[in-house]
């Protein structure tokens, strides 16, 4: 029942916040804060008393919804969704705190939308019914549209429309795929259902499977976003209020990555292998092109937005490498990117509040005026460029090693992305905090509230960089579960993709390398133990 509570608390909080918002501005903030904290505490308490590797699904509940169509209210929790939920509630709280001062009009409705988006995201991470999944997937859109469209910057209307149309159009393609899958499964087994667990083993012709998968991919790749489909992202991120950008970058994009892991790989094991080279290529293109564009921006917020494109390239690269190491990297990348990019957006927001511009050329030399802000900026720029000791490093390294096993060329090309990341990240520090004072700004350093937020985020990113093992342990069973199907299939017909099969076969030898790497980066003893366990499984 805890899963229902999580969703109901958020929904109730949303409506309460709206209703109380008419009277004054404090209540909606407090209510949202309390609702999100309750959820966070609930899920952490649950995590402490459960053992993620026990069974397939930690919690699995199912109610009838529209039985005539085989639609049920099927929610389930496993390690992966657990990790994502913690990230969601944590960043949800952060976004409430950072909006405390920034949002001063229509406060009730703002928090209503905020909590509704988080409800949708929570639902996406928990649904095991494809119809329900689509329902939550779309539920995120409308409040996000309002968030950008009402509280955004100058070009908010165009940006919010673009965001909505892109995601809605791609979502509809996924919807068609879901319904086709429903019929394909129904025709072959006589059981018409939208239940994920039932649909898992659907047998279909290769061409059908590929088409259905492309529909799903459209939705996830737009959300992620992948390079030719990324056009909505810079506008939406730039025009959104800080909390909106934070949620967009840190959580909404992750639903795309989550979709790839949860739906594409298990539902379409052989089709996704066919698609893998293209997928990896898209990943590399995203990494390099995103970094290039990030470097070319003069609008600081846009710059940070484009770094998302680059970082998400690593995610898709990792997903289509089909090995455990890369997948662990993907999970860490989702969290680390959520925290580091979120923090950068918060920083941009704080700067904008003080100097009312996002133009990088008008900044410079701010370190003297605001040393704490500068330090925070430095830390997260370093995180963004992948400095060892911070979360992103672990993530990108794991992904690159994983990808190396799958496709050497792609892996080498994408490692160039790290250099590009260094260039654009250092440019942020250089242009904003160091360098010449272009304008003589009078700015205050961070307030206590802002310091607390930054401190929380710094702790999170450092902790992730030094002790990633708990996260990996939690997510590991679900990652292995994701890959099981894939392995069977690749072993059955090694001819289908010789490159990949070979890589999986030689995994044990590579594993010593992984053990080394993880040892090197984790001061945690469990790391080695766990990896040997992993070896046994393989």
């Amino acid at each position: 029942m805890i899963l229902i509570y999580l969703i109901v608390i958020l929904l109730a909080g949303a409506f309460l916040a709206w209703l109380t918002g008419k009277r004054n501005h404090i209540w909606p903030r407090i209510i949202s804060f309390v609702a999100l904290s309750t959820d966070l505490i609930l899920i952490i308490l649950y995590l402490l008393q459960s053992n993620p590797s026990d069974k397939d699904w930690l919690i699995d509940i199912k109610f009838n919804w529209i039985p005539e169509f085989g639609i049920s209210l099927h929610l389930a929790l496993d390690g992966l969704s657990l990790v994502m939920l913690i990230l969601t509630f944590f960043l949800g709280i952060i976004s409430v705190i950072i909006s405390w001062k920034e949002i001063d009009s229509k406060v009730g409705f703002f928090h209503f939308n905020l909590l509704l988006i988080l409800t949708g995201i929570t639902g996406v991470f928990l649904s095991l019914d494809l119809f329900l999944f689509y329902f939550f997937w779309e539920l995120m859109l409308v409040p996000m549209y309002f968030l950008i469209g009402i509280w955004g910057h100058e070009n908010r209307t165009a940006a919010s429309n673009k965001f909505f149309l892109y995601t809605q159009a791609s979502g509809l393609l996924m919807f068609i795929s879901i319904i086709t899958l429903y019929f394909v499964h129904g025709h072959s087994t006589g059981l018409y259902t939208f239940d994920y667990l039932q649909l898992l083993g659907t047998r279909m012709a290769d061409s059908t499977g590929l088409l259905i998968m492309l529909g799903f991919l459209a939705a996830f790749l737009v959300k992620l976003p992948v390079v030719p489909l990324h056009n909505w992202l810079p506008d939406a991120h730039t025009e959104a209020p800080t909390a909106g950008s934070l949620i967009l970058a840190a959580l909404l994009l992750k639903t795309g990555a989550y979709g790839l892991l949860r739906f594409i790989v298990p539902l379409f094991p052989s089709e996704s292998v066919t698609f893998a080279p293209i997928g990896m290529l898209l990943g590399v293109a995203g990494i390099l092109y995103g970094a290039k564009l990030a470097f070319a921006q003069t609008d600081l917020k846009r710059l940070v937005a484009y770094t998302s494109v680059s970082h998400m390239g690593f995610v898709i690269l990792g997903v289509f490498s089909f090995n455990e190491l890369a997948y662990q990297g993907v999970v860490i990348q989702m969290i680390a990117h959520g925290i580091s990019t979120g923090a950068l957006f918060i920083l941009v927001g704080q700067l904008y509040e003080r100097i009312h511009t996002r133009d990088i050329n008008k900044m410079g030399g701010l370190w003297e005026k605001a040393p704490v802000m500068g330090a925070i900026g430095l830390i997260f720029s370093m995180a963004s460029l992948g400095l060892p000791g911070l979360g992103n490093f672990i993530a990108e390294l794991l992904i690159l090693i994983g990808a190396f096993k799958a496709n050497i060329l792609m892996s080498c090309l994408s490692s160039l992305g790290l250099i590009a990341a260094t260039i654009y990240s250092l440019r942020i520090v250089q242009k904003v905090f160091l360098g010449n004072k272009n304008t003589d700004w009078k700015i205050n350093d961070l307030t206590l509230r802002e310091k607390v937020v930054s401190a929380l985020l710094v702790i999170a990113i450092v902790w992730l960089g030094l002790f990633p093992q708990p996260v990996l342990d939690t997510a590991k069973p679900s990652l292995l579960k994701t890959l099981i199907k894939h392995r069977e299939i690749t072993f059955q017909n090694p001819g289908s993709n010789s490159d990949n099969a070979e890589n999986i076969l030689c995994e044990p030898s590579c594993n010593s390398l992984c053990t080394l790497v993880v040892k090197a980066n984790s001061f945690n003893h469990k790391g080695t133990q766990n990896n040997t366990k992993g070896k046994k499984l393989i």
Binding site: I66, F69, L141, N161, Q168, A169, L172, Y182, F183
Partner: protein, 473 residues
């Protein structure tokens, strides 16, 4: 006429007697409230009488009527829509000078025409119903006699509807010439024996299609829609978009399914073409509109295009989907027009998109219902429209109509664009346009509509179950 016949015709009798009573009352004492109250009660009585018929269906009254669960469903939807429109009209009509009570008389006659279409099993009743409906609509559209564009819309509708009726009648006559019968079942039987079809029959059906196309405003017979929607009083536009079109759709579906028209290759292609054209033309023309009533007019063209998909599925489940779609579409459209109605006054019709600027910050309640209606029209989850579209897509894909479904999907995105434009306007910074005060009746009606849209969007299972259990043809 047996007792059972009498029972089955109960709703029609109530709807037919009520306007006569109102006429008598008005000639003695003109009291707006009394007439309004009486109309509401009569419509409610007609609706309740449907439940008494349920045990005795299906029942045929030779040769004209067929009363089965399908027609009862449509009858119920039509009466409920008429009721909602009546509620919404209360303030709008109250503000007028001079004759006001007659409005309700005409609402009744047009509802009578519409309900007859739901039970027609014969060309005669088909034509009678359509004419009763159309002639009442001329008056309703031109009800605001002091407005030139209202008169213009009335005349436009008069001419085009008469022409289309002539087409329809001529088509019926040709079919009658060929087969010697006007009953649907007998025509279907004659069609089987007359293969290949003679040119006489084909042109007969072609002419009927033109006639029905006009009534449903399908492309290329759609030209009248935006002008009429714009010129007519807002509640009347709601009435045309829902009751009138829904009733014609009801008879079209019945006629088409009895004749098994989906088995005819040419007809199949023709209807697919009309459906795709209606979707695209309706949606694309809607993009540039600045007047919400015109915009909704174009959007209704597209919606009828979506509904045509159902004709081609050729299955009971398709019919069930169409009923769910119509129910959701009725609530949604009446909701949207209802908001326009409530914000319009005697002098000023709130119909430009700018009139709704910042509505959310001034009248949050109304703006929410409007937003829900628009989201439902666009087919976004948690609204009825989403489930309805899903239902059609499901049945369409089951029947393998991929081209139609894909164009429906593309059009959903196009549609979304212009609905979003209005929603953006609702939530942008408030302007200083004065808004009229709202009455209790209007508020309650909007609340019911908004609530229904949400309920059907979040928990539609019960309605779908009822539809599946009862509606078969």
């Amino acid at each position: 006429m047996t007792g059972k016949d009498f029972l089955c015709l109960m709703p029609f009798l109530i709807i037919a007697i009520a306007p006569v009573v109102i006429m008598i009352v008005v000639s003695i004492l003109r009291n707006y409230r009394v007439v309004f109250g009486f109309s509401v009660l009569s419509l409610l009585a007609a609706f309740c009488s449907i439940f008494f018929i349920v045990p005795s269906v299906p029942h045929t009254i030779e040769p004209l009527f067929i009363i089965d669960s399908y027609s009862l469903f449509f009858l119920g939807i039509i009466i409920i829509s008429a009721l909602l429109v009546t509620f919404l009209s209360y303030d709008y009509i109250k503000q007028l000078d001079g004759v006001r009570e007659e409005y309700y008389i005409i609402i009744f006659t047009s509802t009578l025409g519409a309900s007859l279409l739901a039970v027609a099993n014969h060309f005669v009743l088909f034509f009678l119903g359509i004419e009763t409906l159309s002639i009442s609509l001329y008056i309703l559209i031109a009800f605001l006699r002091y407005k030139s564009n209202s008169i213009e819309a009335g005349i436009k509708y008069l001419i085009l509807a008469s022409v289309s009726s002539a087409f329809l009648l001529f088509g019926m006559a040709l079919i009658y010439t060929a087969f010697g019968t006007m009953q649907f079942g007998a025509i279907a039987a004659a069609l089987v024996t007359h293969d290949p079809l003679s040119p006489l029959v084909i042109s007969g059906f072609g002419m009927m299609m033109v006639g029905i196309g006009f009534k449903l405003a399908l492309v290329p017979f759609h030209m009248w829609t935006p002008d009429v929607y714009q010129g007519a009083p807002a509640p009347v536009s709601a009435y045309i978009a829902t009751v009138s079109k829904g009733a014609v759709m009801a008879i079209l579906i019945r006629f088409f399914f009895i004749l098994r028209g989906f088995n005819n290759h040419y007809l199949f292609i023709a209807i697919s073409g009309i459906a795709v054209l209606s979707m695209f033309v309706g949606n694309i023309l809607a993009i540039r509109q600045k007047n919400i009533k015109r915009l909704l007019g174009y959007s209704s063209i597209a919606n009828m295009g979506y509904l045509l998909i159902i004709l081609l599925t050729g299955s009971n489940r398709g019919i069930q989907a169409s009923i769910f779609y119509l129910i959701s579409y009725f609530f949604t459209t009446i909701g949207a027009f209802g908001v326009i109605t409530l914000l319009s006054t005697n002098e000023y019709e709130a119909e430009k998109i700018e009139d709704f600027k910042g509505l959310f910050w001034k009248r949050p309640w109304i703006a929410i219902v409007f937003t829900l209606s628009l989201l439902s029209l666009a087919g976004i989850p948690i609204t009825a429209g989403f489930i309805a579209k899903f239902y059609i897509i499901l049945e369409g894909m089951k029947a393998g109509l991929m081209v139609l479904i894909i164009s429906m999907i593309i059009n959903s995105v196009i549609g979304l664009y212009y609905y979003l434009r209005i929603i953006t306007m609702l939530f942008s910074t408030a302007s200083d346009i004065k808004l009229p005060e709202l009455s209790l009746i209007g508020n309650i009606t909007l609340a019911i509509i908004g609530f229904s849209i949400l309920i059907l969007g979040i928990y539609p299972g019960w309605l779908i179950e009822i539809i599946i259990r009862f509606v078969k043809m």
